[in-house]
Every structure is written in C-alpha cells, then in structure tokens.
C-alpha cells in the first residue's frame, strides 16, 4: 500500500507526541516521585513507535523501542526520576525527534543513533539489576506428549513469521474450547506470555467431534502452520493469497486535514471577493436602485460570514509555538548555572497561523536574553535578598483586535545609566538628557549590533536579537515595548494583530492619494485647527485629556506639494504607552482591506507595511502604525 499519503499525518502526530514528551519530562523533573509523567511518556513513545513501524521507518522504530523499554522498566519499578535518567530521556527524545524528521524527508540513512541506543540499553540493563533479566534459555521443544489423558492429542506449530505467537496460541485454545474441555496444555499457558515462546504447543481435547472438525476449528484461529490431531498428521496448505479486498467506494470520513496552502489559497480568493464587494457597494451607491442595493447587502453579509469562517479556520492556539519553550528555558538555565521557574499563561489564546509561525524566533531571542542577561546567578540573587530561583513568565492575552504577548523576568533589569552614556555618544538622545525613558531605552537596545559594538558588561548581549525581533514584529503589523526596572526585572511586550490577511482600516486622503490605516492601533480622531496645538521638545503636539500627543503631518512626511485644508482630521494612534497624531487631508471612511505584502523600493520611507487594492481597482498603500509612532 502507498504509505506516502500518510507521511504528513505521521509527522504532525509524532511532533505532537514528542512535544508532549518534553512537557512530561519537565513535569517529572519537578516532581521526581510522581508516577504520572512516566506513564504518559511511555504511551507517547509507544504511539510513535507503532506509527513509525507502520511507515516502515526502522530507525525511528528502533530508537522508540529502546526508549520505551527503559520507560517500561522505570514505570514498573515505580522508579523516581534521577538527574542522569532525565538527561538521558531528554536526549532520547531529541534523537527520536531528529530521526522522525529525517525519515519523513527520506534521509533516514543520516540518522546516527548508535550512541543514544547504547546509553538507553546500558541504563535499562543497570535498572534490571545485577545480571539483568535471565537470558532466554534455549528451550527444549515443548511439544512432548503429556501423560495419557482421555481425548484427542492436538499438536500445533504456528507459522514461524507469525507475530506474538503466545497470543495466537491462546486464540487456538479458545477456539478449541468451543468443541470440548481442553487439558494438558504444554507448555503451560503462562509460557504464552513470554516473548521466547516459539509457537509449538500441544493439548488434549475431550470431544466427540471428528478430527477434521477439530482441525478446521483450530485453523480458524489463524497462523497455524502445522497441525496433527489424534495422531493423524495433516500438512498446511501453502499460505493463500489475501482475501480479495474488494475495491468498495471510500467509506465516509468525518475528519479531513487540510493543507495549509489550500487555506492560504482560499484566503486569497476571499480577499478578491472582499475587493469585488467593495466595488459592488460603490456601484450600488451610485445606482440608487433598491433591487441592486438588496443584492449588494446580501453579498456583503455572505462574504463577511465566509470571511469570518475562513479566518476562524486559520486561527491556531499559541501553545503550538509556546510548548517548545519550557524545555528550551530549562536547558539554557542549566547550561548557564541559573535556577529558573518558567511559567506560561494564556496558552489557548488564538492567532492567525501566519503570524504565529513568525513568532517563534523573536520569542526565542527574548527568552534567551531573559535567562542569560535578566536572571542573575543564584548566589547573586541571594545576596540581593531575592529567591535563588528566578522567574520568567511568557503570557498571552487578547486585547480588542490584538493579542499581547509578554516575556517578563524578575532579574536584574537594565542598567540605564550605562545605556544612557552610550545613547548620548551615539546621538540617540539629547546630550543633556538625564534619564532614559522606556521608549528611548528600547530604541538604543534595538540598534543593530548595539551590544557587540562595545562591551557594556552588565547588559552585554542585551541588544542581540532585539533588533531582529523588532523588525519581525513590525513586519507583522505589531509593536514591541519594554519596561525595565533596575534590580526588579524586565518585561518585553509584543502587540500583534489577530489576523494579517484582512483588516479593518481607516481610509485617509492626502493630496490625490488614498492611504489605509489599520484600525488596530487607531484610538480616536480629532480635528486639527479646532484643537489647540503646542510645542513639546521641539515637536508640534496637541494635548488630549492631559496627555501630550505629538503630531505627524502626513502631507509633509510624504512630500506632497500644495496646501492642506485649514481644518483637517487628526488620527490618533496608540500603541502601548506611545501615542501619535497623524494629520491627513480628509477621512474617506472605514473599510475592510486585504493586505498584500509589497517590496518597498529603495529609499521608501519606512512608514508603509503593505498595499491593498481598493474597491475601484486602484491600489493604496497601507500605513504602518509602528513606523509612524
């Protein structure tokens, strides 16, 4: 049978089980005496083994089998987890993962498992006690006639290739019992439970049935090669062909798995539908024909529902990415000699798959920084009156149309004074500045190569990856904020739109062009020319409910010539603690836009995140709130 069609399913499910193994191993490490994790581990590895064997991946099967052996011994012996055992099991899990990944892409011969197999076997032998399990004694042929008892003697030899012969032998006995009482089973039934049972056995049956009937019944148990009943020997017919597997129409199936690319394709089509809908609405508005209006409204409603459905289908809980972090934090902490309690919150929060897929690396950078540079060594923590064990929390929460993901540590925080010097020298802040705000701090940290340029001991490496993380998050239409308190810890806050594909946006006009501004970060609009303006730190600003909102004139920013209207709208953007007022010529309404990525030509202002096609077929650029703030 063609197994390739199952490869993806095998991979997806194996990954799930291996991810569960990580969680279980971590759990076991925290509670070494608990019997629960080892049971779960055994089941997970066992399942992977069964699937791999079915796929014909011999090496995966082998690694899984030996891991399972060790787990079985641990499970039966109610053995508590020791550090060495856990390390070994972590390694075995990793080898298994590697073997699975390589096997699926046809690179099975690159799997090098010799070392881990030897270690697993070594550990299993040590656990089995001195001498280990008794070696299987080369058993004498057991089919010896037992003392004479009434009834027919039946001697059976099972096919040599039959698996689990003991089980088959027991089935033979069960079938035979239908004809009459069965006695003198040799070897005894307990031998059937042993893996060494070779498939030869005999018994006596008290029955009035003919020898031929006994034979028929016994053979019905399957896998019988050779059989004598009452001294009358009969040879087995050669194993026949499989019963004709009639090609019936496919049975109904309740599950379908959809290729992600299909979902993307569907999303693109719906995007085009949304664009066409916009155009239809515009035409309907021009026609003022109630019949056309009706259809337009109906199409609007249907496409909105369709869109909601497909977006829902793309939603993926964050644990799919978060679940690999506990293991990672643990390994890193061990390596660096830190003690870290890692907590994950809001695992079930959902995000568009496309966004979630991009989050792994940025989060990895932030977590690595937290362990490496945030959390102090146990001795240092003690001397500062903190618990020796540091805490790192990765949390996701839903906030309106965005998801907020934070990475917090209770470590040493960032030494602002040192960063300030650096910031002054680099001209990031005014040379007379006396303190750095969180925003300024982030801007310094996110400068590419910040930490490697010069050693700033207490924060060395702080900048590594933050520029990368920031670029990634911004490209997704999100933002990063930082909050850090010296001696208390640091928190990075990532804000992301829930979905990338279709967003609600404000359409603003500047000169002859239209621009789209995703509503995710729009907090309100006010009117310029009505609101009093002021100047703060050399920038034009308005004061809105006691808060200063610096203004950005889009017309000037984009170099549009001509005069702005005397009264025009200000779109107030809000991202975390930052605010900014964008002055545009006019507001053209709200609409759903389909986000298309675009490759900005060299020299383009970094304020566009993509493009969209408006209802009339003319493209408009999408403004990046992060870039404008």
């Amino acid at each position: 049978m063609d197994l390739s069609q199952y490869a993806e399913l095998f991979l997806a499910e194996s990954r799930e089980h291996l991810s569960a193994c990580n969680q279980l191993l971590l759990e076991w490490e925290r509670a070494p005496a608990s019997p629960v994790p080892v049971g779960g581990l055994f089941r997970a590895v066992h399942t992977v083994k069964g699937m791999a064997a079915t796929m014909g991946y011999a090496r995966v099967t082998d690694v899984a089998h030996r891991t399972e052996n060790l787990l079985d011994l641990l499970r039966r012996g109610s053995q508590p987890a020791t550090d060495d055992l856990l390390q070994l099991l972590f390694r075995a899990r990793d080898s298994l993962e590697q073997a699975v990944e390589l096997s699926v892409v046809g690179r099975e011969d690159e799997i090098d498992a010799a070392e881990i197999l030897a270690d697993l076997d070594g550990a299993a032998a040590a656990l089995a006690g001195p001498g280990g399990r008794p070696a299987p004694a080369p058993g004498p042929a057991p089919a010896v006639e037992a003392p004479a008892v009434a009834g027919r003697l039946v001697q059976v030899t099972l096919r040599s290739e039959a698996p689990l012969k003991g089980g088959r032998a027991l089935l033979v006995l069960k079938k035979a019992q239908a004809l009459g009482p069965v006695r003198n089973v040799t070897p005894s039934e307990t031998a059937f439970e042993s893996d060494d049972f070779d498939g030869r056995f005999s018994f006596r049956i008290e029955t009035t049935a003919q020898a031929a009937d006994v034979e028929r019944v016994v053979r019905a148990a399957g896998d019988v090669e050779h059989l004598t009943v009452g001294g009358e020997e009969r040879r087995a017919p050669s194993p026949g062909a499989a019963p004709g597997a009639a090609q019936a129409p496919d049975a109904k199936s309740r599950h379908i798995r959809v290729d992600l690319r299909r979902l993307d394709g569907l999303m693109d089509l719906i995007g085009e539908l949304v664009t066409a809908r916009g155009r239809l609405n515009e035409l309907a508005a021009q026609r003022r024909d109630p019949a056309v209006d009706d259809v337009a409204i109906q199409i609007s409603r249907l496409s909105t529902e369709l869109q909601a459905e497909i977006i829902q289908a793309r939603m993926t809980p964050v644990w799919q990415v978060f679940d690999r972090f506990p293991r990672l934090v643990r390994d890193l902490a061990r390596e660096l000699g830190k003690q870290v309690a890692f907590r994950v919150e809001g695992k079930e929060i959902e995000l568009d798959r496309a966004i979630l897929d991009e989050l792994g690396d940025p989060l990895l950078h932030l977590l690595r920084n937290a362990v490496d540079h945030g959390i102090e060594a146990p001795a240092e923590r003690r001397s500062r009156g903190k618990k020796p064990e540091g805490e790192i929390v990765l949390a996701a929460v839903r906030e309106r149309a965005s998801v907020v993901i934070s990475v917090s540590d209770d470590g040493r925080g960032i030494a602002r004074a040192k960063i300030l010097e650096r910031a002054k020298r680099d001209g990031v802040v005014d040379p007379h500045a006396e303190a750095l705000s969180d925003d300024q701090l982030l801007r310094v940290l996110a400068r590419p190569g910040f930490s490697t340029a010069e050693s700033v001991t207490s924060v060395s490496g702080r900048g590594v990856g933050i520029d990368v993380a920031m670029t990634r998050i911004r490209a997704l239409g999100g933002s990063i904020d930082i909050r850090s308190q010296e001696g208390k810890g640091t928190t990075f806050v990532l804000r992301l739109p829930v979905t990338l594909a279709i967003v609600r946006a404000l359409i603003a006009g500047v000169g002859a062009e239209r621009y789209a501004l995703p509503l995710t970060y729009v907090s309100e609009t006010v009117e310029f020319g009505v609101q009093a303006t002021t100047t703060v730190e050399g920038r034009e600003a308005i004061v809105l409910r006691d808060r200063v909102v610096p203004l950005v004139h889009l017309r000037r920013l984009l170099g549009v010539t001509g005069d702005a209207p005397s009264r025009c709208p200000i779109i107030v953007l809000e991202m975390g603690d930052r605010r900014s007022g964008i002055v545009v010529d006019g507001m053209l309404g709200q609409q759903e836009i389909v986000v298309k990525g675009f490759d900005a030509p060299q020299g383009t202002l970094p304020v566009f995140s993509g493009a969209t096609i408006m209802g009339d077929g003319i493209p408009a650029l999408i403004l990046d709130a992060g870039g404008l703030l």
Partner: protein, 120 residues
Amino acid sequence: MSHTVLVCDDAIFMRTMISDILGQAGFEIVGEAETGSQAVEKYKQLKPDLVTMDIVMPDMGGIDAVREIVKHDPDAKILMCSAMGQQALVVEAIQAGAKDFVVKPFQPSRVLEAVQRVLG
C-alpha cells in the same frame, strides 16, 4: 449490508490507516474513539459489528475497555491492535474477551484476514 466498525486508537494516524484499510474493503466505519472510556461509550451507543482496539491508550487502556464492552455484550467482536513485544498484553486481552489481534506494522491483507476470522 456492510459490516459496521468502531475504530479505537489514540493516534489519528492509526485510526486513519485502519479506517482506510477497512473502508476500502467495503466496511462502514461508524465511529472512532481515542480512549478506552470513549470506546466503551461509543460501543454502547453504536453497537458496531466489529471493534478494532489499540492496547495502549490514555484514560482507560484497551484491555480494560475490552472487559467493559464484553461485560455489556458478551458477543462483542473485538480485534486488538498491538505492537511487537506486547505478548503478555495480548494474552491478557484475549483472556478478557478479545476475539483476535493484529500486530503493527499493519499489512492490509493481515488486517483483513483477522477481521474475516473475527466476523466469520
């Protein structure tokens, strides 16, 4: 009328494969269960002609599920799906009332043979 089958395995992969093998041979897969307790519940509800039962499952294992199902219906036709090296468990399952077993990795012909024996 085709025979109805309840497929019990904690791995979707295995359920899919068994369903495919049996479906292509003309059986009707009427239900799937991921745990032993689900298997028992679905057996009572669907009364299938045949059950394929994995041995190792979370919540309630396959052998306990066989015991429960046989208690409810002594004529239940249950085919165990086992892995290599589970001799003792297979023996236990048969003592509990399973009618036959197949061993992973599955060969469709062997699965169908076993099914015929059980339904025979």
